[in-house]
């Protein structure tokens, strides 16, 4: 049986950071369901936050101010010690990426360029034009090549094997080989990204099904704050491709069908650079009031940005508009609408990225520490992936050095493998049944209809009822293809089981949280309620179904106040 000291699941920014920070001498492997350069980190555009103070208007910026903005942006649901840790590490993380070759855009002085972003007091977001995620992912992958890190690309992890609350192994489907493979591991870091494709309208890559989060849940690790789903204000109408917040940072304005710059009515001080939850809600409100175009979208106008800046700082946005919408943002407004973008919630871990299961660590979007609370600020996700990916690699190394991971697990791992093989065999034995791709499309519509930007008890309840029907349909799923190699039906079949769980936890958390905070807006409870709800939702899987409990938020030097922008 293949055996590792440390297996990292996911080859995006968090996974690669974890791999690079694992102590030399350990046997480390990275498993990724796609080639690492195809990971969704590649699609991040606008930048990564660090209070470098390079921009003339940002000379007085400090990591403490970054932390305050992050906590305020989170609607005070972030754990303040964790948010401070994130922001304290930011400058060092960015300089390290630069030293590893990241081609950050430069100011005239030769220092790393920074731009304004939503909810930030200063121009703090370091960028490489509008391809920051792409260059950072390539940079970390290049370092992984340099250090000759072992990869199992196009392997889908299907199960986490736990014995007596200690991680002992994984099961994976090798797509090219067409086989189910048992893997022994003394520790794992999950860096499997978000679940955006649980929703119909999402900026996320097609591959973001969220299976990793569901696998952890199934293995006994609780999920935290899953009801907090970020809707990005500006996705390209129709395609829902991300149009970076950097477009507004560079001066883009939002205009409704009446020609009004409507953010005046919602965030008079910050206007278009209010945090994402507020801007997304404002846009949706305008559309719902009948002030949108075709009742579907509003305009993001870049005319004020100007040709030269668009060509230099937003070239990929221009390419997206030309290619996918047939318009040139230099002289035409971009039709935009909110779309699911990011998961603030995730696998419940502490600031060392450790979970309740020994040897099981998680980092990046799949994890919830929590640093983003109820609403993440733009530019903080790349930062979180890099900083906490590294911490996860270090924590796992420490766990191993201190003697963790000695448990016997070969038999359990082999058993889990046999059980999956048997299940696939039985599904393949059916002559007919449900098409899993069509079930997936149904789930997406269900979630968009019942757990979107605005929520209320009745629709959330309806979502849970319809979800139960989908769960029944999934019992009769069928695989059409006969080839075991690159059987993408099997990939979705495995992940869909976990997506059902994720959807349930989102709906349930949203139904129980009878308040409005950050991205979670309850039309039937439109006010924040700190007395009852300044706490994290923790959902644990039991044989009887999900069990919901709560944990207090770690409040530090910033007492919760009303958010005004």
């Amino acid at each position: 049986m293949l055996a590792y000291d440390l297996l990292i699941v996911g080859g995006g920014l968090a996974g690669l950071s974890a791999a690079l920070s694992a102590v030399p001498g350990l046997k480390v492997g990275v498993i990724s369901k796609v080639h690492p350069l195809r990971s969704h980190s590649v699609a991040a555009q606008g930048g990564i936050n660090a209070a470098l103070g390079n921009h003339p208007e940002g000379a007085d910026d400090t990591w403490e101010k970054h932390a305050f903005d992050t906590i305020k942006g989170s609607d005070y649901l972030a754990d303040q010690d964790a948010a401070e840790l994130l922001c304290r590490q930011a400058a060092r993380a960015v300089y390290e990426l630069d030293h590893w070759g990241a081609p950050f855009s430069r100011l005239a002085a030769g220092t790393i360029a920074q731009r304004p972003f939503g909810g930030a007091g200063f121009p703090r977001t370091c960028y490489a034009a509008d391809r920051t995620g792409q260059v950072l992912l390539h940079t970390l992958y290049e370092q992984a090549v340099r250090h000759d890190i072992t990869f199992h690309n196009e392997w889908l992890v299907t199960d986490v094997v736990v014995r007596d609350k200690v991680l002992v192994g994984l099961v994976a489907y090798d797509l090219a080989g067409g086989e189910i493979i048992p893997l022994r591991a003394k520790a794992v870091v999950f860096a499997t990204g978000g679940y955006g494709r649980v929703y119909q309208r999402s900026t996320n890559a097609y591959i973001n099904l969220g299976g990793g989060i569901g696998m952890a849940y199934k293995a006994g690790v609780p999920l935290k704050d899953m009801e907090f789903v970020q809707f990005h204000p500006t996705s390209l109408y129709g395609k829902n491709i991300l149009i970076t917040e950097g477009a507004r940072g560079e001066g883009g304005t939002l205009v409704n069908a009446k020609g009004r710059r409507f953010m005046e009515d919602y965030a008079p001080k910050s206007m278009e650079l209010a945090p994402r939850d507020i801007v997304a809600r404002s846009i949706q409100t305008e559309i719902d009031k009948g002030n949108g175009f075709e009742n579907q979208y509003v305009h993001l106008d870049l005319k004020g940005v100007g040709r030269e800046k668009i060509l230099k700082r937003l070239p990929a946005i221009r390419e997206i508009c030309l290619r996918f919408a047939g318009l040139d943002p230099i002289d035409q407004p971009i039709p935009i609408q909110p779309a699911q973008h990011y998961s603030m919630g995730g696998i419940d871990v502490d600031a060392a990225c450790a979970s309740r299961v020994g040897g099981f660590f998680a980092a990046g979007e799949c994890a919830c520490i929590s640093v983003h609370g109820a609403n993440r600020l733009g530019g903080n996700s790349l930062l979180e992936a890099v900083v906490f990916g590294k911490i996860a690699g270090e924590s796992a190394s420490r766990y191993l050095r201190e003697g963790g991971g000695g448990a016997e697990g070969e038999r359990d791992t082999a058993e889990a493998t046999r059980s999956l093989v048997a299940r696939i065999h039985s599904v393949r034995g059916r002559r007919q049944g449900a098409n899993v791709f069509q079930l997936l499309n149904k789930l997406k519509r269900l979630m968009s209809d019942t757990a979107g930007v605005f929520r209320e008890a009745a629709t959330l309840r309806r979502g849970l009822e319809e979800l139960a029907k989908l769960r029944d349909a999934y019992r009769h799923v069928f695989i059409f293809g006969t080839c075991g190699r690159y059987c993408q039906e099997m990939v979705v079949l495995v992940e869909f089981e976990h997506m059902l769980e994720i959807a349930e936890v989102i709906l349930l958390g949203a139904l129980k949280r009878e308040e409005t905070r950050g991205s979670h807006f309850r039309t039937d409870f439109p006010k924040r309620d700190d007395a009852s709800w300044l706490k994290h939702t923790i959902v644990t899987r039991t044989d009887r179904g999900p069990e919901v409990s709560y944990r207090d938020v770690q409040v530090g030097r910033y007492a919760p106040r009303e958010r005004v922008y």
Partner: protein, 239 residues
Amino acid sequence: MTFKILRFNPFKDEGPHFQTYRHEPKPKDSVLEALKDIRDQQDPSISFRYSCREAVCGSCGMVINGRITLACRTLVEGLGSDEVVIEPLPNFEILKDLIVDLKPFWDAYRKLEPFLHASGDVPETGHRVAEKDMDGISRYVTCILCACCTSACPVAARDGRYFGPAALAKLYRFVKDPRDERPASALERVDGPDGVWGCDLVFRCNDVCPKEVRPADGIEGLRRKVIAERSKRLFRRNT
């Protein structure tokens, strides 16, 4: 509309063959979206790589009506044809349907040490790099390693040892980076027929590149560096 999709099941089929599907795409649908809809609604067994669907991850390189490109950035209506023929990238072995084995592509990339060679500790306040120097490599860092160029390259087609346009352009990206300190000897590795002198200068790579990287310009840039390095060596030997 008719979609002719190349199918190949290595465990069953003697060779690749076309399968025809009828499908009416929605306005502005990309070829990737059409493929997905055909798979979801008609034939879940079709295999193809995909991820970002916005031309930044490099997964979905294929041949569409004879043209090598990314399926996600090709709109069906832009093809101006009622028939869409979809084949896997050439120059690579087909593993299943539209999925090819890119191992030779990644091997060539790895051999040229595609990472910044910067010595010493992380500088306290970062590297100072002139704006124009960073702008000078921006085209090359836009490369997403989708392998369209290597697929289109006639040299790569006939000589498996040739590094190919993507790997060479990547090396140029680093050689041109003012932070890079790799020894000049790194250029010797590409000073031969499997390196910069292998290029036929027919610029098929520039034509097909979906990101307008123009890899051949990188190869040409490397040639100048290689010659400059040769003359430096000659000069050193003569003094």
